[in-house]
Assembly symmetry: C2
Homo-oligomer: 651 residues x 2
Amino acid sequence: MTMTTSTTTTAATPVAPSRGALRPLGLDQVQITGGFWGERQAVNAAVTLAHIEGWMEREGWIGNFDAAATGTLGAGQAGREFSDSEVYKLLEAMAWEIGRTHDGDLDARFTALVARIAAAQEPDGYLNTQFGRPGQRPRYSDLEMGHELYCYGHLFQATVARARTAPGAGDGLLELARRAADHVTDTFGPDGIASVCGHPEIEVALAELGRETGERRYLDQAALFVDRRGHGVLRDIEWGRAYFQDDLPVRETTVLGGHAVRANYLAAGAVDVAVETGDDELLRALVVQWENTVARRTYVTGGQGSHHTDEAFGEDWVLPPDRAYSETCAGVGSVMFAWRLLLAQGLPRYADLVERTLYNVVATSPSHAGDAFFYTNTLHQRQPGTAAPTDVASPRASSSLRAPWFAVSCCPPNVARTLASLAAYVATTDDDGLQVHQYAPARIRTALPDGRRVEVDIETGYPHDGLVRVRVATSQERPWTLTLRVPAWAKGATLVVPDDADPRPADPGTVSVTRRFSAGDVIDLHLPLAPRVLHPDPRIDALRGCVAVERGPQVLCLESVDLDGAGLGTDVGEVRIDLGAGLREVAGRTRAAFVALPALEAAWPYGDANDAGKPATGGLDSPRTAEVPLTAYHDWANRGPSTMRVWIPMV
Amino acid sequence: MTMTTSTTTTAATPVAPSRGALRPLGLDQVQITGGFWGERQAVNAAVTLAHIEGWMEREGWIGNFDAAATGTLGAGQAGREFSDSEVYKLLEAMAWEIGRTHDGDLDARFTALVARIAAAQEPDGYLNTQFGRPGQRPRYSDLEMGHELYCYGHLFQATVARARTAPGAGDGLLELARRAADHVTDTFGPDGIASVCGHPEIEVALAELGRETGERRYLDQAALFVDRRGHGVLRDIEWGRAYFQDDLPVRETTVLGGHAVRANYLAAGAVDVAVETGDDELLRALVVQWENTVARRTYVTGGQGSHHTDEAFGEDWVLPPDRAYSETCAGVGSVMFAWRLLLAQGLPRYADLVERTLYNVVATSPSHAGDAFFYTNTLHQRQPGTAAPTDVASPRASSSLRAPWFAVSCCPPNVARTLASLAAYVATTDDDGLQVHQYAPARIRTALPDGRRVEVDIETGYPHDGLVRVRVATSQERPWTLTLRVPAWAKGATLVVPDDADPRPADPGTVSVTRRFSAGDVIDLHLPLAPRVLHPDPRIDALRGCVAVERGPQVLCLESVDLDGAGLGTDVGEVRIDLGAGLREVAGRTRAAFVALPALEAAWPYGDANDAGKPATGGLDSPRTAEVPLTAYHDWANRGPSTMRVWIPMV
């Protein structure tokens, strides 16, 4: 790995490593100007942030801080152990949004919220509304499930977002966070409590706060937390210490396991530690974990976690579509982990997973209106759900319709902060030029360390259209290199460069052009968007005999509202896909041929090949067949209760 | 349905309906004299009962009663909300065992245990060590999860067992139980608390205590509990009221759902209520529930429950083998439900499920030595487990090796009471003769209502051998009818009757012989035990492309210790069964041909048909093939840590 050393001021980006293959660009350098993600950012700004703030006021999670400040908080605090963290995630989302749009009203709300939080901080820097007061449990008495350090983590990430988008804002957040971070390093340092938090997050956050403030001891504390974990420092629980990754040291772990959000947050923080300390052994271990997790424990959507019980990864190849947990937050965590590896190593495979996860997990969670969310993201809905209540927090994470709020509501603010900061994941630079990783209409204005201006605009209808046009905005005397990612699925992509007679082939990976760019130069990347049939690895038992369909970066699914429209009933479990007929694109939608199963009746569902339980499609006299449009998975359940499946059995 | 009215004294049987198609025989009329079940009864008597008693003493669950009696019990009581019930289940198991073997030492232990329990009963009949004292929660303050009525239920079942196996024993248990039952009817009667217990069990127990004592109000209370449930009388919880069947009234329910043990216990009690009150509408609803549950929500083992999260049934067709929960107690509950329907309706399908569940769930739980147990019964073990600790209660129900004890240890005493009372499930009578439902070496001595003696001995090596010989012990001038069940899988069975030149075909269902039997008459039922390949209903997504193998009533499985012995590695996930080679029986074991998967490597497990993720057996140049013996599922994990699967993908 070649490491470049950052020489510029920290950009407005969530992650700013001091070295690595690629250098991130911030919201000050990249703006998404429309399209798929631009629309979602607009809804996030217009609806979601206020929706979240409203629910947190209503549920009393923000009010906890007021009560703490006035000394009236006791055993009756609202919310769960981690409710403070949700407020901090909202704060982070607001900070990115202010950095993106410079919304003055939002800035005022942000500042007011910081003031309420600051009033609750104790003189020694401790800040948590759930512990330490009369009637509450003592501080740090439940490191396994108490989430106190986890909450600080989200506080620090919000602080970094604010410091990088509004330096010198004067709202006091940075000072508040430093007091809290000093308290953490004092309390959990080498001579302090020799343990970790049951929910990793403090690691990734302390590392970034260290980067932002230059405080080495924050980074050292993050490294200490990473090293301590895995030695059984936490109490054993019913699901075992693997739940919070305390079963095996990070550097001895070969695949992510246990609670999927915890695993990804920890891995992301460990990458930060490895990069900042030059710990290549640790980094190699994390790369292996990522590779094995992606190869054996990740859904086609990029979703991770196949156990409802403990919100955890299953063993290798345990990827049941109908019991997929695939928590939205695990998707966010996976983006965090992959993005850090991309910055460290520069390999396009990391950006491939980021793209897959953004389109098929992060974009799936919020409703089109932006006021309801999936917590889990099943890949097979067997029963049409009932509409989630709009006026009370939903206790159940498995509803098939998006709910406005959950008793555990980590996912909505996690989506909000990701969408608001999304421009930071679009492109990077190195010493030679610009790398574009994610395709959206965008404006990019930055400079290389030696001063060469790199200024381009991206025009594209992606992911609906496969043309990505990079238009150079500023002429530059000296050459620089434009590098574009070609997704692994984009076989047959081509690049058209000015003055070239013919398109160049652009194989999956990256394609680069080095030249003296002039303003107005146009580079066109053509990504083939013909729908593709996917077969699963034969070791995934739950998918045997099934295929999925993708179009570009979007996983498609069969939704019963479309099935019903084609006269094939309302149950996606009762049809089979007929690949012999191929796939067709009609009016922007991919269509496939489906055959209805014959009516089956059996008193006992296991029998010999002549019993009713046999694979029975062969016995159908006049099979009902129809062409049915597929739906982008992220769009499902926006048309009322439905059944749905991503993996479809073949005839 | 033809109903017969019981005219004899209540037999020593767990269920004694006042009417129904069949009349149960008790331990005083049927003895299992050896064979598969005889061996398990012997281990249960010699090892398991003392093992359970020892652990309950050690864990303080029995000591809770002593502390309650001396007034020293407070917030520090041992065990969970339901620990009293485990002591009662042990009591029930002991009562049946005393009835079976008349073991004087065991009788003395039983009587001593009753005395300790009796000392803890409060003056008004209330009895529970977990509620109502200073430092404890108030009585009936948590009907959802408190299990107080559930505990009474097991107390009443133990009482019935004792009353029917040792009438007039003078240990005070019956009087104790009546005081408790009177307290329950006073407290929860028509004018009392208008609710139910979060864990059904009081219903089935009160109905039986009513049958035993003749107290109509116990039965009325059971009926009231059945009718109350399903109207949202319990508080909603994260998993929804379906968890404790409070989402829909019993008579409107069409399939079992929610917590699988709760669902079966409730259904069993509802059958009792329906039979005793002549409520044919309720009985019809329960028959439909049973039919749909068996057709769509039951594992091939008879196991029920496919969610780890809430120990619950999944939706129709959700039967993942690798995440099967299939709690041992749910198997016991299913036997209870099916047995009551058999007595009510007389149809052999109910006895078929009882047999399947006994061999493949109940017999699977205990180790050969009888001192360790499965709580859950997975059908696919992917990783060899680590040995369960022998000296501490295991917190995890999903260990692949049987554990000596669990923090929640409902299953071991449930198995023990079932094994000790097993003779009661072997045979029944009606006005015309004897019906034999389960095949084991047995001695049956009973009489029909009109005085005809029905006395036979059963000789069989079943399930290892298919010959079931019924030898008549007593001549009888008047004819009577011998009816033998022919399991649904036993196609080609034959019956040989004295004086007949040729065997008679005996189609699945039942076969009957009516004659003037003479002592020494021999009737031979030949059940074909050739191994059978089973295909799953195509709607069970998790089993697509797989088959299972059965031999007689036993489900077989592939265990890695055998795979390894054949040179095919240690991972049952890496082989496919080749049905073209057929199945062979060698030295009493069924053998099948297996092919090892080629080595597969893929960075991403989803791709087109040419990628590494494709179904790849076709690409194998020189496939490794070997014949491997299969193992009876109930025998698995008795040879050290192993991987195992019941459903095996086909080449």
